[in-house]
């Protein structure tokens, strides 16, 4: 059963024993969250490119303009800085804008508004002008998108103080986290994993699951051998890898879904890694200076004395996102996760003063 405390079923998990729910896609759950937010709070306004009449290119805003009118769900001119900049002004007047960037890479024209204003306006005015706005950004690859349609841009937002960075991996979380994000008095960059948009899960729009406050990770699968730390589009990969490891290797991998990259739920992650002693961070974003860098560094700092092996990272290569026909070579998959797990130095305990580094032989292969 999907509950607020984090046992909502990930894609591919066992069906619950609750009264039957209609299967629903993540896109539908997001749509419902927007609808409920618009209905609950007259200050919520949805706008962006094609979000009105069309209902968005992913249909996440489908029907909202019809139900709430063009003043509450508005097609804008084609200008991302303009969208974010006007959202700032609306937030200054006490509204709660929810804007859509059509694709990850098309949020870049608005980068200055995001970094120089949205993230700083509250701080600049000592709290007088909070920015209760949500920037929805479909992100990541795996959908055969041509160039500029598959970026994982979360590292940029994580490195910007003043932004919350949230990303759901399940249908239930999509609803719950988007509601919390819209309700938040701080700006949230809400990253929607494109390739999970159509993933179905049992979920009831009549009794949508709540989630805890933003900033809480969840253990999606308990385990004692090692911890997989992941989020968004890579959760299904990690769940599958954990199944495979249990089946083929007898390893019990614990899978932590971060749900929010900022705030970062250090407690949940650290508790898991201290228990298992080994960890792999898995994400689609490029590895170098990517989200996994912070996670690995932070976890290592907090868990150093518990680690049997260095925290490893499985990430996209350090390259521009590949064209559709080559993207499968780039995306972290079950094999790469299991390869990394295999490199967690199961055979030998660490020995102080050992002469050559265990990973030295991998040379540049370390990602």
């Amino acid at each position: 059963m999907s509950t607020a405390t984090g046992t909502s079923s990930p894609p591919g998990a066992q069906p619950s024993r609750e009264p039957a729910r209609k299967p629903s896609t993540m896109a539908q759950a997001l749509n419902r969250a927007l609808r409920d937010a618009l209905a609950d709070d007259p200050d919520v306004h949805v706008f962006g490119e094609d979000v009105g009449t069309l209902g968005g290119v992913f249909r996440v805003t489908d029907g909202l303009a019809a139900e709430f009118g063009a003043d509450r769900c508005t097609d804008t001119p084609l200008a991302e800085a303009g969208i974010l900049g006007t959202a700032v002004g609306m937030a200054m007047y006490g509204m709660r804008p929810v804007v859509e960037m059509q694709f990850d890479a098309f949020a870049y024209p608005g980068f200055e508004q995001l970094v120089s204003h949205i993230s700083r306006m509250r701080n600049r005015t000592r709290g007088a002008l909070p920015m209760p706005l949500t920037v929805r950004i479909p992100y990541g690859g795996g959908i055969g998108g041509v160039e500029h349609h598959s970026d994982s841009s979360e590292a940029y937002y994580m490195a910007t103080p003043g932004l919350h960075v949230v990303t759901p991996a399940t249908v239930a979380d999509a609803y719950g986290l988007l509601r919390k994000s819209i309700a938040s008095d701080d700006p949230v960059v809400f990253l929607e994993p494109k390739r999970l948009y159509w993933g179905k899960d049992d979920w009831s729009p009549e009794r949508p699951a709540e989630v805890p406050e933003i900033g809480r990770a969840v253990v999606r699968r308990p385990g004692s051998s090692a911890t997989l730390i992941t989020y968004g589009p890579s959760l299904p990969v990690c769940m599958e890898a954990a199944e495979a490891a249990a089946r083929d290797e007898g390893l019990e991998l614990e899978v932590v879904d971060l749900r929010s990259l900022v705030p970062f739920d250090e407690d949940t992650v650290v508790a898991s890694v201290r228990r298992t002693g080994r960890a792999v961070v898995v994400h689609e974003s490029t590895g170098f200076a990517g989200p996994g860098a912070e996670i690995a560094a932070r976890v290592t700092e907090r868990c150093f004395h518990h680690l049997e092996a260095p925290v490893l990272r499985v990430a996209g290569f350090d390259i521009p996102y590949p064209p559709p026909m080559l993207e499968r070579h780039h995306l972290p998959d079950v094999d790469r996760v299991l390869d990394a797990v295999a490199r967690l130095q199961w055979e030998s305990e660490w020995r102080s003063g050992e002469e050559s580094g265990g990973l030295g032989s991998l040379g540049g292969g370390v990602r």
Binding site: Y93, R122, R124, R126, G127, L129
Partner: protein, 395 residues
């Protein structure tokens, strides 16, 4: 019918049935900047006198603020000396419920609107990024990244309209700022939404060192309005009466639901870009001198005198009032501002994250340790370790 439903925007129809579109003629600026001073126009004496008083105050304010940079009391000051007419008119054209969106150069507009000068100077003094409450004063923070405040003004005005509130936003930008993409996007959104916004471009001839001819090839900056479907107005920016007339007109037009407007004030920056700039590197003294003859304060004084509305006593009184304001400002700016280092952590988010909480504790401990060392007591609890004497004093 929604407030977004447009009149005026052109609908595409299939040729050969090309539909009549919005007529560009009424959007076009005049060939010459609009002027009132020195003309036969009927002008309200009380308004002229009020403008004069504000101009004198404004000039004195600019001088005082520049002096404060020399005394180390301001980190930097971008003076609007020479542009006081535009600054003052912008403030006076608004009603109480309206919003002003100033750029970093428009301290004076905020002060003329009635804000506490010390609060307005926070950014430039360096004690905080902004020193007043934008909600209660209806003045947005002075904006440093050029043109970025323009879409804010559009969004705010649009939000107010959606809520049915009677609010106009007036947004200020420089000639250089018109080259930024944000200028374009803001004007376009405003026109499509018919938002009640007035865009005021102060064309003061330069963007730091770059003269207008390197900034644009347009007939005038006001001509840019046509491409958005809003009227463009060209005004003598040193003629406070003309500025007040055109801006008031634009503001009331916006208030009446007739949409946004672009006003270009042709003026000149008499001082360097900021106190840190050396304007002799990029312009001739003769050019500056020629503009001094068109000084906005002097123009107004001449007008008032010629209309018999001002005599030497009046001039002296205005000067004395300005002097009192300057003295008061000087005195207050010479007091050290109260600094609250823990503020650094308190406004990043509504609530500190655990990480920020930890960092705040670290700084608090460091400050306590430094304090303890400074006062000669033994290292305070929470000392974070090694600390040499001269290093400790640096915190």
């Amino acid at each position: 019918m929604t407030v977004l439903e447009q009149s005026g925007a052109y609908h595409l129809a299939p040729p050969p049935a090309w539909r009549p579109r919005r007529d560009p003629a009424p959007l076009m600026p005049d060939g010459e900047p609009f002027r009132l001073l020195g003309t036969e126009a009927e002008l309200e004496g009380a308004l002229l006198r009020e403008l004069y008083g504000q101009l004198v105050r404004g000039r004195r304010f600019n001088e005082q603020a520049t002096a404060l940079t020399k005394q180390g009391r301001l980190a930097v000051y971008p003076s609007s000396t020479g542009q006081e007419a535009a600054e003052v008119a912008a403030a006076l054209a608004l009603r109480e419920q309206d919003w002003l969106f100033p750029s970093y150069r428009d301290t004076l507009a905020a002060v003329a609107r009635g804000l506490d000068p010390v609060a307005v100077l926070s950014l430039l003094r360096g004690d905080w990024h902004s020193g007043y409450d934008p909600r209660s004063t209806r003045v947005a923070p002075l904006s440093t990244p050029l043109a970025t405040q323009l879409p804010h003004a559009v969004g705010l005005a649009h939000a107010a309209r959606l809520k049915g509130d009677d609010v106009v936003a007036l947004a200020m930008v420089g000639d250089g700022g018109t080259s930024e993409g944000d200028f374009h996007e803001a004007l376009n959104f405003a026109a499509v939404w018919q938002a009640p916004v007035v865009f005021l471009v102060q064309n003061n001839g330069f963007a730091i060192s770059v003269p207008l001819a390197k900034q644009t090839a347009a007939p005038s900056l006001a001509h840019k309005a046509v491409g958005y479907g809003m009227p463009g107005r060209l005004v003598d920016g040193n003629d406070a009466a003309a500025m007040h007339h055109v801006l008031t007109d634009a503001v009331e037009r916006a208030r009446a639901g007739e949409g946004p407007c672009l006003v270009e004030a042709v003026t000149y920056r008499l001082e360097a870009h900021t106190n840190a700039d050396d304007a002799t590197r990029y312009r001739e003294a003769a050019e500056v001198e020629s503009w001094r003859e068109h000084d906005p304060v002097a123009l107004m004084e001449r007008e008032l005198r010629s209309r018999g509305l001002l005599d030497d006593d009046g001039v002296r009184e205005a000067g004395e009032a300005a002097e009192r304001m300057a003295g008061d400002l000087r005195e207050r700016m010479h007091q050290e501002p109260e600094l609250a280092p823990m503020d650094l952590f308190d406004h990043v988010f509504a609530r500190r994250t655990p990480q920020l909480q930890g960092q705040a504790e670290q700084l608090r401990a460091e400050l306590a340790a430094a304090e303890a060392e400074h006062t000669g007591t033994a290292g305070g609890s929470g000392s974070t370790g090694h600390r040499t004497d001269d290093q400790g004093s640096r915190k």
